[in-house]
């Protein structure tokens, strides 16, 4: 019996270490406490049992084994790591009705798989220990495995594994479920207050316009506005409430900052989430899909226009802000690719109000164009000071379309969404006078809503339907999506500020 007791304890200790490593990801250093419990308690119980033959100690030891095998080995190791890694990815590669699983970092998943393997050793040696203990109590020789026993064991394990794998495949598949009472609830996740309020409100208006444009639909479509406030914790709570209490069937949202918060919640609820987000990594192709020209696409279009205009040298004056940084990074890469030199680069903090010295330095580098991109109020301050210096040769990405003072940027050209259906903007402005039309968001919000509506009208699971879309005739030009991708791609266009208003320059 001593041999099996030693081997049983060894398998428990090794598995406890693997469980600890695995839990370092979700629990941090608190996982060490869990590991200590899993090491100390079984060791103490087995030591107690070997010294006293206490039944309570033996039962306690076996309960710890059971916890490790079921709680960690089967539920965490098998169901949440091993099956998603091997079976989940395989099913997703075969059919789009299975989502590509959301997997953690490599060490997390490998430790999960090892936890499952370790728990099999715990199970096996626990079983041998029980038998040895029973034989010892009966005064019999320890039973040796017969030739048939391993075969039976392997056959039983195979059957059990097949049943579990079948159950996993069944639960993993996304199926069509008709909306309750014929009403489809679509959550609109945008901030309605704070600095994002202008964009949030106009995003909501675009979705409302999309809904009012619906004619003769099979189902009713109800918008559930989720005011996500300003901070991420508040946003998470509000989105979770919309999912669990309001039971939204799908989510349309905008702004990467909040898209990142929504993504795991939509995945957990298994509802589609479309996001007008420039951070392409948010779109996973499972439940979350981004829809906006990527920074790379903006950069390609911008450089083409620069070349068309005979620009040879560029100065960059940009704010240190994530989405702007993304544009600048893509622009630098594209400029380097085509061999256009950057004569001056300056990234400024949002506390800067006096740009005169950097304007002077940029001017001294003799650029053909000043690339400026910033948020309000820095954008207007920079524009004012460039204007005072009589600098008119400016260009940008998106920013001039959202400035509070377009007159400062008269003649500035920039890339933004290709609003081929200009009537869309006119209808919007007529329907919602006084609401700013954000060219880089509104068409995509409108299209995202319609994609979800199409899915329900066709009686298809909306997440599966969006996964299957390869091309879509969007309000801002054709959208394309590669198989398995979570990003709808589209080409931006060149705009110019003319008479204080954005005007589409390049018509395709």
């Amino acid at each position: 019996m001593h041999t099996y007791a030693r081997r049983s304890l060894l398998s428990v200790l090794v598995t406890a270490v693997l469980i600890t490593v695995n839990h370092l990801y979700p629990l941090g250093t608190r996982a060490l406490g869990l590991g200590a419990v899993l090491v100390v308690v079984p060791t103490a119980l087995l030591w107690w049992f070997r010294n006293t033959r206490s039944r309570a100690a033996f039962a306690g030891y076996l309960l710890m084994n059971l916890w490790i095998v079921v709680g960690f080995g089967l539920i965490k190791g098998l169901w949440k790591s091993t099956l998603p890694v091997f079976l989940g990815t395989l099913l997703a590669s075969i059919s789009t009705s299975f989502p590509r699983p959301t997997l953690g970092p490599v060490p997390f998943e490998l430790s999960g798989i090892l936890t499952f393997i370790g728990s099999l050793f715990v199970l096996y040696y626990g079983y041998r220990l029980v038998r040895a203990n029973r034989d010892a109590a009966a005064g019999a020789e320890p039973g040796k495995p017969t030739a048939r026993r391993p075969v039976l064991l392997a056959a039983s394990a195979l059957v059990a594994f097949a049943v579990i794998a079948g159950a996993y495949a069944f639960t993993d598949q996304d199926r069509w479920i008709a909306p309750a009472n014929g009403v489809v609830k679509i959550g609109v996740i945008v901030p309605a207050s704070g600095p994002y309020a202008i964009l949030g409100n106009s995003f909501l208006k675009a979705v409302e316009m999309a809904r009012s444009d619906l004619r003769g639909t099979k189902y009713q479509y109800e918008l559930v506005l989720v005011d996500i406030g300003l901070d991420l914790a508040q946003a998470r709570t509000a989105i979770q409430r919309a999912i669990t209490d309001e039971k939204v069937d799908a989510i349309v949202g905008g702004i990467s900052h909040f898209g990142q918060v929504t993504k795991p919640l939509a995945t957990a609820a298994r509802i589609p989430h479309t996001c007008v987000c420039s951070v392409t990594s948010i779109g996973d192709g499972a439940y979350t899909f981004t829809n906006i020209p990527s920074p790379d696409a903006e950069a390609v279009q911008w450089v083409q226009e620069a070349q068309r205009r005979g620009i040879r040298q560029i100065a960059l004056l940009t704010q240190d802000y994530p989405s702007i940084h993304g544009h600048v990074t893509a622009l630098k890469a594209e400029l380097a690719r085509v061999g256009l030199p950057i004569t001056y680069v300056r990234e400024f903090a949002d506390s800067v109000t006096d740009f005169r010295s950097m304007i002077a330095q940029a001017r001294a580098s003799n650029p053909d164009v000043y690339f400026v991109e910033a948020l309000s109020p820095q954008l207007e301050l920079l524009g004012q000071q460039l204007f005072e210096e009589k600098i008119r040769n400016m260009a940008s990405v998106v920013a001039p379309s959202v400035t509070q003072r377009p007159e400062l940027f008269e003649g500035t050209w920039y890339t933004d969404s290709d609003l081929r259906d200009i009537g869309f903007k006119q209808r919007f402005e007529k329907q919602y006078p006084g609401t700013r039309f954000a060219t880089h968001m509104m068409p995509y919000a409108y299209d995202d809503f319609n994609m979800i509506v199409q899915a329900f009208e066709r009686g298809e699971n909306p997440a599966v339907y969006i996964r299957n879309i390869a091309t879509y005739e969007g309000t801002a030009g054709p959208l394309t999506k590669a198989p398995g991708s979570g990003n709808f791609q589209s080409s931006p266009a060149v705009w110019v500020i003319q008479n204080g208003k954005p005007a589409l320059l390049s018509l395709r």
């Binding site: 490599v106 990467s256 420039s278 392409t280 192709g285 940084h325 998106v398």
Partner: protein, 45 residues
């Protein structure tokens, strides 16, 4: 040759193969799901 003496070696090789396979799958899946991580947030978008 004793059959039992090979069991630990076979098990170890099997586990190593499973882990190597899992490593490839997880790395490929994560690359396909997120791509290169770009910027974390944006007001403009």
């Amino acid at each position: 040759m004793n059959k039992r003496t090979h069991t630990p070696t076979i098990l170890a090789l099997l586990i190593a193969a499973v882990l190597a396979w899992a490593y490839v799958i997880v790395a490929q899946n994560n690359a396909a799901m997120g791509g290169a991580v770009e910027t974390p947030a944006g007001l403009l978008h």
